[in-house]
């Protein structure tokens, strides 16, 4: 049977193999990058998919404070619910997604910073969050970052919040870095760390699902102005978004969205800065 196969037959096999490979690669890559068609009247919004209470994907729907604000803005801009295309905007990809037009705007716990303003523009802010600590409910001895000397703190790999604590408040703190806040919260539960740190709204979202076993310390020690990321220099769009945010704050939906997403955690936005006055991005810079 070896001897009967001709060179031609073998070459045919090779060709068939290559063709099969090519077809499969096509089929699968189409599935991979085939995004919904952007013709027609839709708005593409980048949010987080993995932060309960802020931006979270569940059962094909999206929930969280960022999502509520985004939905309100989209409605004000004249889009129905079924005309919103939600996209995941991981922290490190946000600028790139705006720059190459993957999304029209991003609400993904996106702090307004001068560094980022070199690449994109912001509208908002729609919330002034602050870095805070999440601790177990029975904890009494941690009341702020200065109490963390000799304690154990968890934060997410690549975030700067843990270093802020270490450098500014407690240089004796022991740091643990985990891939996501879920691991941090589990570590907090099991007692191997004493606190988790990041922006208070994110911590509140985590605490909301913790069956009352975790609480916020409630003493934010930084200000993170959460903005709506938009394409660089689109002042007209920024004005529309800012007006929508103002409306949202005025008609009480903003307050309701906060309460809905953080109920039972005792979280209140830092009253000194909230509700914020959205004026960002209306002038060219």
């Amino acid at each position: 049977m070896h001897n009967q196969s001709t060179g031609r037959g073998r070459a045919g096999l090779l060709r068939r193999l290559v063709a099969l490979v090519a077809v499969m690669a096509c089929a699968l890559s189409m599935g991979a990058c085939g995004s919904s068609s952007s013709d027609g009247h839709v708005i593409k919004i980048g949010i987080k998919f993995d932060q309960p209470g802020v931006g979270y994907k569940k059962s094909g729907t999206y929930e969280g404070f960022d999502v509520d604000v985004a939905r309100y803005i989209a409605h004000k801009l004249g889009y129905r619910d079924d005309e919103i295309v939600w996209k995941e905007a991981p922290s490190k990809q946000r600028e790139a997604m705006l720059q190459n037009g993957d999304v029209d705007m991003i609400l993904a716990s996106y702090s307004i910073t001068d560094e980022r303003k070199k690449a994109v523009s912001f509208a908002g802010p729609y919330l002034v969050a602050g870095q805070d600590l999440l601790v177990r409910s029975d904890n009494t001895d941690i009341t702020g970052p200065q109490d963390l000397n000799g304690k154990r703190l968890c934060s997410v790999t690549g975030s700067t919040s843990a270093n802020t604590v270490k450098q500014k408040f407690a240089n004796e703190v022991q740091l643990m870095e985990q891939p996501s806040y879920a691991e941090c919260a589990t570590a907090l539960f099991s007692g191997i760390v004493d606190a988790v740190t990041t922006d208070d709204i994110i911590l509140a979202g985590l605490a909301a699902n913790a069956r009352g076993k975790l609480k916020l310390v409630g003493a934010p020690f930084t200000q993170e102005r959460y903005g709506v990321g938009i394409r660089k220099g689109d002042t007209e769009f920024a004005k529309q978004i800012n007006q929508a945010i103002r409306d949202m704050i005025d008609d009480g939906s903003w307050q309701r969205a906060i309460e809905d997403n953080t109920s039972g955690t005792g979280y209140t936005p830092n009253a000194q800065y909230n509700p914020p006055d959205p004026t960002e991005g209306e002038e060219d810079d």
Binding site: R10, D50, N100
Partner: protein, 374 residues
């Protein structure tokens, strides 16, 4: 691997059997004690909550968990794995052939590329591609980063498989092709490489197991694979240990099934090639040495007196052959290419499956499997 196949210890007598029974009892007790300790610790940890409570397991197992998290995650994992395997086969064939063509420059460039990507950890490749693709404005950068990292590493492994697969063919194949008037390149492309490809199919399936496991690295660069999705589910209900267990079981079952498939493949493929079909993708160790597939076959010819696994390397090496020009030739003339007619004057052709059935040897699969492949 029952006791009767092992000669390391005598067939135990009455006293030996008693001793073995006693050891067995002690060992089983120790293992059970370990398991009980772990379960108790999970049930009632020093501080923290009971990890065995249904409250934590239910959200990790209910319908919503499967439809919203595990299955979409699994689809992403499988999608990346399959595209990566297909891509690495293409990459492997191109660069494997690149390392065999007559042109010296092409050979050198292919060698550098293959050796480079075999040495760089996949995680570094993925992190690099992820950031790079994001800056370049590619959509879904983490997906392509995972695929890219997997393709380059596993493609290099497959390139080595192609190379050793060709190196391992009996020299007569090439001689016959040249005698028929084919050019060296034609001989390579129409006679040698196709046979090497069939010979390496089982190893490709084993490689799929590696790829499937390594897609889990994608979760470090935010690719929403099975591991990442189980993390997200865990973020909602604080049951990440439970969701990771479920994800781990899914990975295990898939990989285990694929491993079994890979083990059955060589028997199916043997009738279709002169090359050696092996399940383990063992690339040549020395940089310039393509002959180890022969050595693998050589090693596997031997008996397995202690019931161990197939040997991948023989107990004797003849130098790495790294500097031998005619390594293909050297191997059978030393008598280590058991498939080659020179080593078997009484069998002018390699043993066909039907031969194996007659002699009742069938060490590499049941006779029925081999017959099915004819």
């Amino acid at each position: 691997m029952n006791e009767s196949t092992s000669v390391l210890f005598d067939q135990p007598g009455p006293r030996g059997r008693r001793r073995i029974r006693m050891f067995n009892a002690v060992a089983s007790l120790l293992l059970v004690a370990l398991a009980v300790f772990v379960i108790l610790r999970l049930h009632n940890p020093p501080d923290g909550e009971n990890q065995l409570s249904w409250e934590l397991w239910k959200p990790a197992l209910d319908r919503e968990a499967w439809t919203d998290f595990y299955l979409p995650g699994l689809w992403m994992t499988v999608k990346a794995a399959v595209v990566a395997v297909v891509g690495s086969i293409v990459f492997g064939i191109v660069f494997g052939i690149g390392r065999l063509v007559p042109n010296m420059l092409v050979r050198a460039v292919s060698a550098v590329i293959v050796e480079f990507f075999r040495a760089v950890p996949e995680l570094l490749l993925m992190v690099f591609f992820w950031r790079w693709f994001a800056f370049a404005g590619l959509s879904s950068p983490s997906y392509w980063a995972v695929v890219g990292g997997l393709v380059l590493y596993n493609g290099s492994v497959i390139a080595e498989l192609v190379r050793s697969g060709v190196g391992n063919l009996p020299h007569g194949q090439r001689e016959a092709a040249l005698a028929l008037g084919l050019s060296p390149m034609q001989s390579l492309m129409t006679v040698e490489v196709p046979q090497a490809l069939i010979a390496m199919l089982p190893a490709t399936i084993t490689q799929l197991v590696v790829v499937l496991k390594d897609t889990a690295l994608g979760s470090i660069i935010m690719y929403t694979d099975l591991l990442q999705e189980s993390r997200r589910l865990g973020a909602m209900y604080f049951n990440i240990l439970q969701t990771l267990v479920v994800a781990g079981i899914i990975y295990f079952v898939l990989d285990w099934l694929l491993s079994r498939l890979a083990e059955r493949m060589p028997a199916l493929m043997k009738g279709r090639t002169y090359g050696n079909t092996v399940t383990e993708p063992t690339a040549p160790i020395a940089i310039m040495d393509a002959t180890n597939a022969n050595q693998i076959a050589d090693a596997q010819e031997g008996e397995r007196p202690y019931g161990g696994a197939d040997r991948q390397f023989p107990d004797h090496y003849h130098g790495s052959n790294a500097t031998t020009d005619h390594w293909q030739h050297a191997h059978y003339s030393h008598g280590h290419d058991r498939n080659h007619p020179v080593s078997h004057p009484q069998h002018p052709f390699p043993k066909l499956p039907i031969d194996r059935r007659e002699t009742g040897k069938g060490s590499d699969g049941s006779p029925d499997d081999s017959a099915g492949a004819v």
